[in-house]
């Protein structure tokens, strides 16, 4: 795998190479060069299979991290391409022209994170969240608990205890303050 890195390192300004295990490496690439790098890896380096595209919300850094995983079936190796995009604009170049099913992943990320991929087929259509009217739920500022409280009824019979209050009741019940 090292010779691939030597070749693409300068051309695509890749950084942060992480050798996760012998068959899986991650690298980081600038947003502008990411789709070009993926094209190169597919066409020149034999990473002909697109495995997945996923995202992480680094809300403190005001960034989304996108990770594309590609597979080279001949060499049986995987490569993960990471890139960071601005959380405010949340827009990334589409890669559906390389593999058709990338569009499905991009549509999912639009729905779950609000990341747009202009030009990607059906990217604005609902994916699994039918009738969703809140902020995208995988964004870290989405309040899961609040949503659950407002949306679902509580199961009957549930009761919890605060440890400090419970210990007071058990260990020093008569004390007043």
């Amino acid at each position: 795998m090292d010779n691939i890195f030597d070749d693409i390192q300068k051309r695509f300004e890749i950084t942060d190479i992480v050798k996760q295990d012998k068959n899986l490496n991650f690298l980081t690439c600038k947003k502008e060069l990411t789709v070009s790098l993926i094209t190169h890896l597919k066409n020149i380096e034999g990473f002909s299979h697109f495995v997945l595209l996923t995202a992480v919300d680094w809300i403190e850094d005001e960034k989304f991290q996108l990770t594309y995983i590609l597979n080279n079936p001949d060499k049986r190796i995987d490569i993960g391409i990471r890139t960071y995009i601005d959380r405010g604009t949340a827009t990334m170049d589409t890669a559906h022209h390389l593999w058709e099913h990338v569009a499905t992943y991009q549509r999912e990320l639009k729905e779950m994170f609000g990341i747009d991929f202009p030009g990607s087929p059906r990217v604005d259509e609902q994916f699994i969240l039918e009738g969703w009217d809140d902020i995208p739920p995988y964004r870290r500022d989405f309040d899961t608990l609040k949503y659950a409280e407002e949306t679902f009824f509580p199961r009957e019979g549930r009761k919890s205890n605060d440890p400090a209050e419970y210990m007071k009741k058990k260990l020093y019940p008569d004390e007043e303050k």
Partner: protein, 599 residues
């Protein structure tokens, strides 16, 4: 239709002899991946029921529930997490935050039951087939922590900068340090039960995080009117049960308390604590002794309108806090800050008054609606070994008092201290400083019955004493003091094999063949203190109950058999400051009830 279209379906037949690429046998077991996040497991012996799993759960899937056979005790709420799988999303945040590491996820993800309530159970208690499954999700090792596991170091003077003087050597947290330390708290509240005063510890730590130190001060004063003092010398039992301490350093609860008190200026206390207009209720309470219990009782009584007068035998207030704890640990101006605020509420102190001789207790009974006595343990206890009555054999309490009174005490070149508690460390370190000043070197050795691992002194006291060049040589029982030509020559000891018997009673056992001689020209005994209750008349004493060991019996409000007399502090519990404060607070509530019942 082209030929290709006709032939294409038959091309698939070409694969019939090839190995399938899919997994065979989908009907049977499909184990989860090595680190798959499946159903929970909990080691209930390790779990302490701190509830951080419940707090972090974004779906409210966890309840803390009592479990038969698990006792509520110091450091363990007795509760255990129950998971509602109707809500769990398998994110494993509960595992990653778990303070003891007891909670994990198995990699089992399939389970069928027709009863929806089966999907709500207590992992580790309600037995499941995956309980022994080693695979699944555990908190990753390394630097993957949701809270800091290392405590923020408290700045202090180096030994060489402090071992000649009595200046305070613990310098206190800065704002940044305090907030960083406070940020490690998981706010479980396990510590509250262990604190004798049941202080609102998570709440005041939270106030530091929120940079609301006035609110922090209000929380401190709810249960403790001596925060500058306790913030420095509290025995901090709360830290021993801190849940964060199971996987790292416990929170520096004591130093955080000190930070709040240090940052609030005394002139703003009345405004912050809303005590500017306290109405007098016309009732009077006499308090004997201005130690922690007396001051605490006076504070809480004065807040509800009682006119309190404290009678103090010594020239200044504070009791053992001033006359027993060295200034390098507890500076006098900080004692004054706490006491001055209590006095500002109208509490009076009559100094240099000996109850029993200057005024009788019965006179106080007549002049006041109730009396609280917190007279402490000021009498030194002797080993009573041969030679212990020599003039160069002293009690630690007497020497510490003399030092605080500013008197010059005898300081010899070679000193042995007998005792392994905090008082022994206090006198050892005080004498080491005085020796260093007088002779330019330290030659003080402390020896105790208890071996190093069970010495009753706080660990940091032992460490700091050694830093100051005192020698701590524990695990020896004194047998005699050698006197030659009326001069102390040293202390004979024998190896102590054990201090307590199987039932926990004091019953030391020795190896008489393993002996040692400590050379010394001065010996200090610090093996405990006794009470002096000569001031209680026989008539009153007859109404008070004593147990078989001569200890005074009181009810939950520290009320004695003589209903008008309440007794608390070191005589009853402790000995330490925080028990005294808690006793005084409870006694104040009891005195209020008693006086109200008596019209």
């Amino acid at each position: 239709m082209s030929l290709k279209n006709i032939l294409t379906p038959f091309i698939a037949w070409g694969n019939i002899t090839k190995d399938p690429v899919t997994v065979k046998d989908p009907l049977n077991e499909r184990p989860g991946a090595e680190r798959y996040r499946g159903f929970h497991k909990n080691d209930i012996e390790t779990c302490i029921g701190c509830g951080t799993c419940e707090d972090i759960c974004e779906n409210q899937a966890i309840d803390l529930v009592p479990v038969d056979g698990i006792e509520t005790k110091d450091g363990d709420s007795g509760l255990r997490p129950m998971v509602d799988y109707g809500r769990c999303c398998w994110c494993a945040l509960c595992v990653d935050i778990c303070t003891t590491g007891s909670l994990t996820l198995s990699n089992e993800y399939t389970w069928v039951s027709e009863d929806a309530d089966d999907f709500r159970f207590i992992p580790g208690v309600d037995k499941k087939s995956w309980d022994d499954n080693e695979k699944g999700w555990k908190k990753p090792e390394g630097n993957y922590e949701f809270y800091g596991t290392k405590r923020v170091h408290m700045p202090e003077l180096h030994a060489e900068d402090r071992d000649k003087s009595f200046i305070e050597f613990v310098t206190g947290y800065s704002k940044q340090q305090a907030e960083e330390e406070a940020d490690r708290c998981v706010e479980c509240g396990i510590c509250v039960a262990t604190c004798p005063a049941h202080m609102g510890i998570p709440e005041y730590i939270s106030a530091i995080r929120n940079n609301d130190l006035e609110e922090g001060l209000r929380i401190l004063y709810d249960t403790n009117p001596l925060p500058e003092i306790c913030g420095r010398i509290c025995t901090h039992k709360c830290e021993e049960v801190c849940s964060v301490g199971h996987n790292g350093d416990p929170l520096s609860i004591r130093w955080l308390k000190r930070y709040i008190a240090d940052q609030n200026p005394s002139e703003k206390y009345k405004e912050i604590l809303n005590s500017e207009n306290v109405e007098n209720n016309g009732k009077k309470v006499a308090i004997i002794g201005s130690g922690p219990s007396g001051l605490s009782a006076a504070y809480y009584l004065s807040l509800i309108g009682y006119e309190c007068t404290i009678y103090e035998k010594l020239p200044e207030a504070g009791g053992m806090m001033r006359y027993g704890i060295p200034e390098y640990r507890l500076p006098y101006d900080q004692i004054d800050k706490d006491i001055d605020y209590i006095l500002s509420l109208g509490v009076k102190i009559e100094y240099n008054v000996n109850i029993g001789t200057d005024i009788t207790l019965d006179k106080l009974k007549t002049d006041y609606d109730a009396v609280f006595a917190g007279t402490g343990l000021h009498l030194g206890r002797s080993t009573r070994i041969p030679g212990s009555d020599h003039k160069d054999v002293f009690f630690a309490t007497d020497l510490l008092r003399e030092i605080s009174l500013g008197k010059e005490i005898q300081v010899s070149e070679k000193i042995i201290v007998i005792g392994g508690g905090n008082v022994a460390m206090d006198i050892t370190r005080s004498l080491a400083r005085l020796q260093n000043n007088k002779f330019g070197k330290v030659d003080t050795t402390a020896t105790s019955l208890e071996s190093e691992d069970i010495m009753p002194a706080d660990r940091e006291e032992v460490v700091e004493a050694r830093e100051e060049k005192a020698i701590i040589d524990p695990g020896w029982g004194p047998t005699s003091i050698e006197i030659e030509n009326d001069k102390v020559k040293g202390l004979h000891v024998q190896k102590c094999l054990s201090v307590f018997d199987e039932s926990g009673r004091f019953s030391p056992k020795f190896d008489e063949k393993n002996t040692k001689f400590f050379e010394a020209d001065m010996i200090v005994e610090s093996i405990g203190q006794g009470m002096d209750i000569e001031y209680i008349s026989k008539e009153t004493r007859d109404q008070i109950k004593f147990d078989q060991r001569g200890r005074i019996q009181v009810n939950e409000y520290f009320q004695t058999g003589a209903k008008w007399l309440f007794i608390g502090g070191d005589i009853i519990q402790g000995p330490d400051v925080i028990h005294g404060i808690a006793n005084g607070h409870k006694a104040a509530i009891g005195i209020d009830k008693f006086i109200n019942q008596n019209g």
